[in-house]
């Protein structure tokens, strides 16, 4: 962990003291929360970052009062977590804080979707990661390759975990890399493609770390990719479906996401490259038979991506426009249309050999 536990606690205490002083002065107490709307997200060229805009959350304001109270409930809860040295999930936190207010039928929180954004508010306000607040994020993702690590005192060899691979935990800050024998990292969106490549021992043949995000990359997986890429100077190739959602998954791995722009520098891997699928691949590899008609929502999403600053490379503009114009998309599995081992034996080797990547 970059920031020590004590530092996090004192950040929480500073917030409390500031509010207490305001109250003692008879002022309407408020918390300054950096705005996370698209309008305050800035693309630095390297990654997505938060701008300067700040929203003030007041207690004595009808539209803010409840959120103000909830923010303080979460803040004091986290202080207790840290002091007791225990981790928990967002859902457990929700249940722990959920309570009916005395003399009323109102709850502190009704649903988890009220407490989740409060955690993000605290992250940006205090400039800490939720993991540092001892709140664990979603767990998703598996990895194999010739890598040996130490985690919680255990020595784990990623090349010797059978067909399962290593399940990536939510917190990888404390993982120590003992041995890394790989020339690049292949990040695969989908589990089925991962299994195909794993069975075909792609990682052994091509000397790479093979990682699946199982959909949108969880924070643990993103941080793991970043650490491996930076600490061992490994190129990262991302392999997703040929559709706006797959491409956005790639952009999140590379630049970070809008809602987590405040921690892009700790989660993003700006050196990542996109290996496929592209719409151009459909022509190059003759996949026409296995494309899917794009839905309206796909087209709409593609049009949004077209305008994002970090999709302004001419190659991406070309792909996006091609997709909108043809109204089609394709899944990784479309490659199986050409034969089950087509992806292992033809598609990926060709793309890597020709350095046929998108920026």
């Amino acid at each position: 962990m970059n920031t020590k536990k004590k530092e996090v606690i004192s950040k929480l205490e500073r917030l409390g003291r500031k509010l207490l002083e305001e109250i003692k002065r008879g002022e309407n107490p408020h918390i300054d929360i950096p705005v996370r709307a698209l309008s305050n997200v800035i693309f630095s060229g390297q990654n997505l970052q938060l701008g300067e805009k700040v929203a003030k959350r007041y207690f004595f304001h009808l539209a803010h009062a409840k959120k103000f109270m909830q923010t303080l409930l979460v803040a004091s809860f986290c202080k207790q977590l840290l002091e007791e040295g225990i981790h928990t999930s967002l859902r457990d936190m929700f249940y722990n804080l959920k309570r009916t207010l005395p003399n009323s039928k109102e709850n502190t929180f009704d649903e988890q979707r009220e407490s989740d954004p409060i955690v993000v508010d605290l992250e940006v306000t205090l400039d800490v990661l939720r993991e540092q607040l001892h709140l664990s994020a979603d767990v998703r993702g598996r990895v194999v390759g010739e890598v040996v690590i130490e985690d919680r005192g255990d020595i784990i060899d990623w090349s010797r975990l059978g067909s399962g691979g290593w399940a990536i935990p939510s917190n990888v800050e404390d993982v120590v890399f003992k041995e890394v024998n790989a020339e690049f990292i292949l990040v695969v969106e989908k589990n089925a493609a991962f299994e195909r490549l794993h069975e075909d021992k792609f990682w052994k043949k091509h000397k790479c770390i093979l990682l699946t995000t199982q959909g949108q990359a969880a924070r643990g997986a993103r941080r793991l990719i970043q650490r491996l890429a930076q600490e061992f100077n490994l190129p990262v190739y991302v392999f997703t479906d040929s559709d706006p959602y797959g491409w956005y998954i790639y952009s999140v791995i590379k630049y970070g996401s809008m809602s987590l722009a405040h921690i892009s520098d700790r989660l993003g891997t700006p050196s990542a490259r996109f290996i496929g699928l592209t719409i151009t691949d459909i022509d190059k590899f003759d996949l026409h038979n296995w494309t899917i008609k794009a839905k309206e929502v796909d087209i709409k999403r593609a049009k949004e991506l077209l305008n994002y600053e970090w999709f302004q490379h001419k190659e991406w503009q070309r792909e996006l426009k091609l997709m909108i114009q043809r109204g089609i998309k394709a899944e990784l599995e479309a490659l199986s249309g050409r034969g089950l081992r087509f992806v292992t034996e033809t598609y990926l080797p060709t793309k890597i050999e020709n350095k046929d990547f998108l920026p």
């Binding site: 008879g26 996370r36 929203a55 539209a63 303080l72 109102e106 989740d116 809008m258």
Partner: protein, 530 residues
């Protein structure tokens, strides 16, 4: 073609009596089915009573009794304290269709066509064969007369079966007794509902009602003065069609065409009359009956192109905003009520006035669509709501502007919407007088009245909401302060009770502050973590 076909057909030709015609076409008069027929009989009698009392400047007191004789057979008695009907005219009023005092009147009345009450007599005769029994007395100095009357349908003439004096009757007034086939219902289109709405729109009337179950229901007066008697007016020059204009010229007693224009119309002065004649190329002193068809046409065209001031408006008997509100309050018992009387305006040369009243809350039921009450010349309209200009206007108003939710195209909630149209000539969609035709000028006026009511209601509702909001704010802070204090206590180590005291001080200051004040509003992205 057989020989003499035309002659054979000609032999069959004969004149048809109007009574015979309506006997076959009684649905045109509203006697479609037994339950509606019962209502129509009560309605025609009560309308006549109210008209007569107003004409004679008497505060009306009307007794309605319905007795059930057998399943589907009723005796209906309506008695008033009006001026009575002179003995000689009683038979024709009740025994001859298309006979009356109000048809040619240029003034607002309830009945107008001279068909209503005699149609009821016709219906009674058709279904039970019983004569109408009428008692009438015109003054305490004179005796009361009892008549037993039927209608000679082939001749449209009254048959007087009996005529005798009686002492046993009030000082003046009329009592009508009819025996009919009918059916008594208590829901939407019932006699009960009709009398209730009649009481609303005639707050100066006292109505005592004995229903078929023997219950007595009394609607008290909520206003103790009569509405002013509307004046009789001459037609407005823009209010006559060519055919009528031509006929007026033929039958006028004026000696010159200029004096015809001045005398037989309202709003044409001597100078204007002469100017019109000159423009039409007709000598102003030409006798009217010497005009050729072409000259009449020319004259008519010039009149249509000439501007006149609007017709005089005192021929109407509007309710008045206060009276409308009182009528509604007395019967509906709402939390809030607002009424609007629109300025009189003109439709086809006929002056008319729209009044609207909206009641909210109180004893009005909150579920389902708003209740709409439609009135024309102080008469409730119960049937054919869907075909009526009032319903159309209600549906066209954008109620969401006034924070009133809509379901389909009807406003919903604890609302009663009442609209009254007063006019010399109401354009009903049928002789049964159940719906007002949707002429654009009329729909527009109704909408304007409803919109004004809507704005006032919305203002009231907004004020209520502000008060509620302030109360809500107080409660919310009261509830959140201990939570915030406990959390801050954990974060800072400060004593919880101390923090609560500070916060309560700020809260009091804050609740009393104007609600309009704005804090810099938070803007937060709605994106979840990705």
């Amino acid at each position: 073609m057989p020989k003499n076909a035309a002659e054979k057909i000609a032999k069959a030709m004969k004149e048809i009596s109007i009574a015979e015609f309506f006997e076959k076409n009684r649905h045109l008069l509203g006697f479609d089915n037994p339950s509606k027929a019962l209502l129509m009989v009560v309605k025609e009698a009560v309308d006549n009573s109210l008209d007569a009392c107003e004409e004679a400047r008497i505060l009306p007191e009307i007794i309605v009794k319905i007795k059930k004789l057998e399943e589907n057979r009723f005796k209906v008695i309506v008695e008033d304290n009006g001026p009575g009907i002179v003995k000689e005219k009683v038979p024709e009023v009740f025994g001859k269709l298309l006979f009356g005092s109000k048809f040619h009147l240029g003034r607002q009345t309830r009945g107008q066509q001279g068909i209503g009450i005699s149609a009821a007599v016709l219906y009674a005769q058709l279904t039970t064969g019983k004569p109408a029994v009428i008692i009438s007395r015109t003054s305490p100095d004179k005796p009361a007369y009892v008549f037993h009357i039927k209608i000679d349908i082939l001749k449209n003439k009254p048959i007087v079966l009996k005529e005798e004096k009686t002492e046993n009757f009030r000082e003046h007034g009329v009592r009508v007794e009819l025996e009919i086939e009918g059916r008594y219902v208590q829901k939407h289109h019932s006699v009960d509902e009709y009398l209730k709405q009649t009481a609303i729109i005639n707050p100066h009337a006292r109505i005592i009602y004995y229903n078929p179950n023997g219950e007595k229901i009394e609607f008290k007066r909520s206003v103790d003065h009569l509405p002013p008697l509307p004046k009789i007016i001459k037609p407005h020059p823009h209010g006559v069609e060519f055919g009528i204009f031509e006929r007026m010229i033929k039958i006028t007693s004026s000696r010159t065409i200029a004096s015809f224009l001045t005398n037989d119309f309202s709003r044409i002065g001597r100078d204007t009359a002469v100017k019109i004649c000159v423009k039409a190329g007709i000598k102003p002193d030409k006798p009217p009956h010497k005009l050729t068809h072409e000259e009449i046409e020319k004259l008519y065209k010039v009149i249509q192109q000439t501007k006149f001031i609007a017709p005089p408006l005192d021929c109407l008997s509007p309710l008045g905003e206060e009276e409308f509100k009182k009528g509604i309050q007395q019967v509906v018992k709402p939390e809030f009520v607002v009424a609007v009387s629109r300025p009189t305006t003109v439709y086809r040369g006929n002056p008319f006035k729209i009044e609207a009243c909206i009641a909210w809350g109180g004893e009005i039921k909150a579920e389902g669509p708003a209740k709409i009450m439609r009135f024309a010349n102080r008469v409730p309209l119960l049937y054919q709501s869907g075909a009526c200009a009032i319903t159309k206007a209600v549906q066209e108003v954008n109620w969401s502007n006034y924070d009133i939710p809509k379901e389909g195209n009807m406003p919903t909630g604890p609302i009663v919407i009442a609209v009254h149209m007063a006019s010399v000539w109401i354009p009903y969609t049928s002789e049964s007088k159940e719906a007002i035709a949707s002429y654009p000028e009329i729909v527009k006026e109704i909408k304007l009245a409803l919109q004004e009511c809507g704005r006032k209601l919305a203002a009231y509702l907004r004020k209520q909401r502000r008060l509620q909001e302030r109360e809500m704010k107080r409660k919310i802070f009261e509830r959140y302060i201990p939570e915030v204090a406990a959390s801050l206590s954990i974060l800072t180590g400060e004593n919880k009770e101390t923090i609560i005291k500070y916060l309560e001080l700020i809260a009091i200051k804050n609740i009393m502050k104007g609600e309009g004040e704005k804090h810099e509003h938070e803007k937060e992205g709605s994106n979840q973590q990705t």
